[in-house]
Amino acid sequence: MESEFIALDKAGEEAEWLQNFLEDIPYWTKPVAPTMKRDTISNLPCNVLDGILGCLPLKDAVRTSILSKDWRYKWVTRAEIDFSGQFLTSFNNSEEAKIIIHQDPAIFKNLISKCALLESLRLTWCTDFDILEIDAANLKCFDFLRRLKSISFKNAPMLRNVAVWLDSRVLMDPSPICSNLIKFIHYMPSLQEREIGMQALVDPLDDEINSPRENDLCPSSASAYNLTKVSLPSDESIHTLVDHCENQSGPTLVYELPTISEVVDYDQSDRNNLDVLHCLGNPNCDCLVKPTSVVGLETGEYMHKETIVGVHSCDTFLYHLYAHDIFHRDIKGMPNFEDNTLGESESG
């Protein structure tokens, strides 16, 4: 009984102390409130901040890494890296931009390695690469326009849209590295759209930096096979166009031979999962269409084995986009793809 009284007494003391304590609180300085007010943007939810940073041009987004410790890696959630018109226009001086992006391929590698959530990579006005390795697990879209010996996609299981346009000078360049028009043959099960184009392109950097050369390198309609009509630079009047084939069940390739103005509907519905597509638009050349199961394309007699880079294996999520120099033999002439090369080597 006595102990209970003592306990009650103690409780009363505690209550009083607590009361006094609470009364004192308003007189304390508030360390929390000013912090909250100081920096509203850092308190925004991630998705909101990503939305804002995603709207920023690449250069500005990267620059936010120096704002404070918190901000160091905020921008890397970016889903898109676009080295194209917008990037260049963020520099007033085109010469400076040219130096930066033409002399330092490390920029791309550095950026790509940082952005784990990267979905779209556009290297349309960038430097020449000998080898570009891309390791971006979420990459869905890849555009390239320049000189390139080989690209390999390490770990790009989501990639479904590839557009590769090549500088016309690639054709003209006699040096061994760039001597040939590089062709990319895709062997990637996830790939839904591909586009390989070649046009008598002018180097955009040599032009007006703000030239509104909007290209359609990256059409967004999924499940379509795009066939790009490829023209030789000697035939400058020919435009490179893309046809969208909406036929979902059996992909239809609409293939226009520019110089003879003839449309050939190349229906491949009898082949399952048409997945490897390679097409050159020239009266002398033909469509090359291979079913998914083709493991290697080096068997074709038109290929030059030594130019095939790397190996692929879809089981290990290691995919390579092959660079083939189809035009190795003769710059003007195109290799004649014989009909019997179609659909052959259905191994795997």
Binding site: C55, E96, I100, D104
Partner: protein, 159 residues
């Protein structure tokens, strides 16, 4: 009509056609949860008024395209985002909460436009971010991507 209640207990009536631009409220209406007042504990009345103004203006976006009112809408949007940072963030937070995609996009774009081409100092000042990096750390960040910090075109003004 749908009734919305802000966190300071003010009620607002909004046409259903307008309010369903909010995915969140649209879902509530579809699920039959919007029969009485919808309380919005995260949004104050000042922000809610702004959001409702936007929703009312953007009713029937398709119709606007037909009748050639797109320019009008564009002008409205430009005027709409002409507000202070704090207010903009409030609207962004409300748009995020209510899940109004277009409003969110508009406000994020506006925020990005304000930050574009600004110097690091100007951005820090605008957003009231305190720099807690040492000089060495700053240098390290610059060395990592020097191209991002170069160029005379960077604007140092705060507005």
């Amino acid at each position: 009509m749908v009734k919305l209640k802000s966190n300071d207990d003010k009620e607002f009536e909004v046409e259903e056609a307008a309010v369903i631009q909010s995915e969140m409220i649209k879902n509530m209406i579809e699920d039959g949860c919007a029969t009485s007042v919808i309380p919005l504990p995260n949004i104050d009345s000042k922000t809610l008024i702004k959001v409702i103004e936007y929703l009312n203006k953007h009713i029937n976006m398709g119709k606007a395209a037909e009748t050639g009112e797109e320019d009008d809408l564009k002008e409205f949007d430009e005027q709409f985002v002409n507000m202070g940072w704090e207010e903009l963030f409030d609207v962004i937070m409300a748009a995020n909460y209510l899940n109004i995609h277009e409003l969110m996009e508009l406000c994020c774009q506006s925020a990005a436009d304000r930050l574009k081409n600004k110097s690091v100092r100007a951005v820090r000042e605008m957003l009231k971010i305190t720099n807690d990096l040492t000089e060495e750390e700053e240098q390290e960040i610059i060395n990592d991507a020097p191209w991002a910090f170069e160029g005379p075109e960077i604007d140092d003004t705060v507005n």
